[in-house]
Symmetry: C3
């Protein structure tokens, strides 16, 4: 049993952009010695999230943001914005709904995902950001 | 320290059906040698999700779907459907909100859950599906 | 490789209170011998959730609850309440949306979180509760 620790740096456009980071996570597993275990994928920060989805433009660029707009509209009123005099209250709320961590099984040296299931970073902040994603691979 | 890798196959009805899979996950732990650690439960696919809830009919068959209908209505407009000429755009969005992975502690050889807290699979797709759930048990 | 198992007890006010439990989780890591790995944070029960957010009053005491009110209003109609003759249907639904488990990387003996990213317990139940949070630290 061992742990392999990786960091991925991603440049985003913010504004609820969805980025496919599957290949970078796969490389963390492929470059290591663990054939059976788990990979935990975690994004630092409170206005971004990690999950899986089918990464295709209609869903990633429109449908997810449209649903999140119902829960936390960009132009809604947020006490967070009144506290800090900024404009990203909706970004914090959206990040809480989706969450910062994901754990994916590794079997036979391969990350286990469905055919149409990609690992994605969602950046809800209102400006371009450099995001740091940590991948902890644990197993044997 | 070791890893024990399990797969559970479940037949679902789709249409936001909620299925209690607690007993199958408990059997993964009971049949193994790990007394302290974690069990990661992960569903393959991008129109299903895993979480915990109290598994009782009112909540599982009505209340959860009613809340998800507000976020991602079955009859809403989804670019995903226009891309693929299918009808499961809401299923993808709902899966993103709930998420595909769950990690539950194991202490004294027992999966740690509240009295009214069951592990459930939610299948949001618009047809019956065979779902594959992976359970990775890690610990000592 | 080893596992260190911790339990945190927290008294809450319920009613979607958000509590910062970062320091308690940090102490689980600081008091142990694991320098590289993961910490899984899990809340027992089906009306509470664990995630990360910026813990500041506007967001924690108002904005998150306002968004959850759109999905699962306190005064909505829930079959769960008709089944059990209670009033916490919205609490169960909110807990499903946020989820009970979170897994955070540990690198160089430190829990990896963003500067404005705290670990929080959300208690959605309709009365004060004693909550039990389990923290499983796995690594080497």
């Amino acid at each position: 049993m061992s742990v392999e620790s990786h960091a991925i740096e991603v440049e985003t456009a913010g504004h609820s952009q969805v980025l496919d980071v599957t290949e970078q996570v796969v490389q963390c597993v492929d470059g290591g010695a663990i054939s059976c275990g788990i990979a935990t994928v975690f994004v630092l920060g409170s206005t971004a999230a990690i999950t899986t989805t089918e990464f295709e433009p209609g869903l990633a660029n429109h449908d997810l943001a449209a649903a999140l707009e119902k829960v936390a509209p960009v132009s809604g009123r947020y006490l967070h914005e009144e506290t800090w005099h900024d404009d990203n209250g909706h970004a914090h709320v959206r990040a809480v709904f989706i969450g910062p961590s994901l754990t994916v099984p590794i079997v036979d040296r391969r990350l286990q995902l469905g055919t149409w299931q990609q690992i994605v970073l969602l950046d809800f902040d209102t400006r371009p950001r450099s995001r740091r994603i940590l991948v902890q691979v644990i197993g044997e």
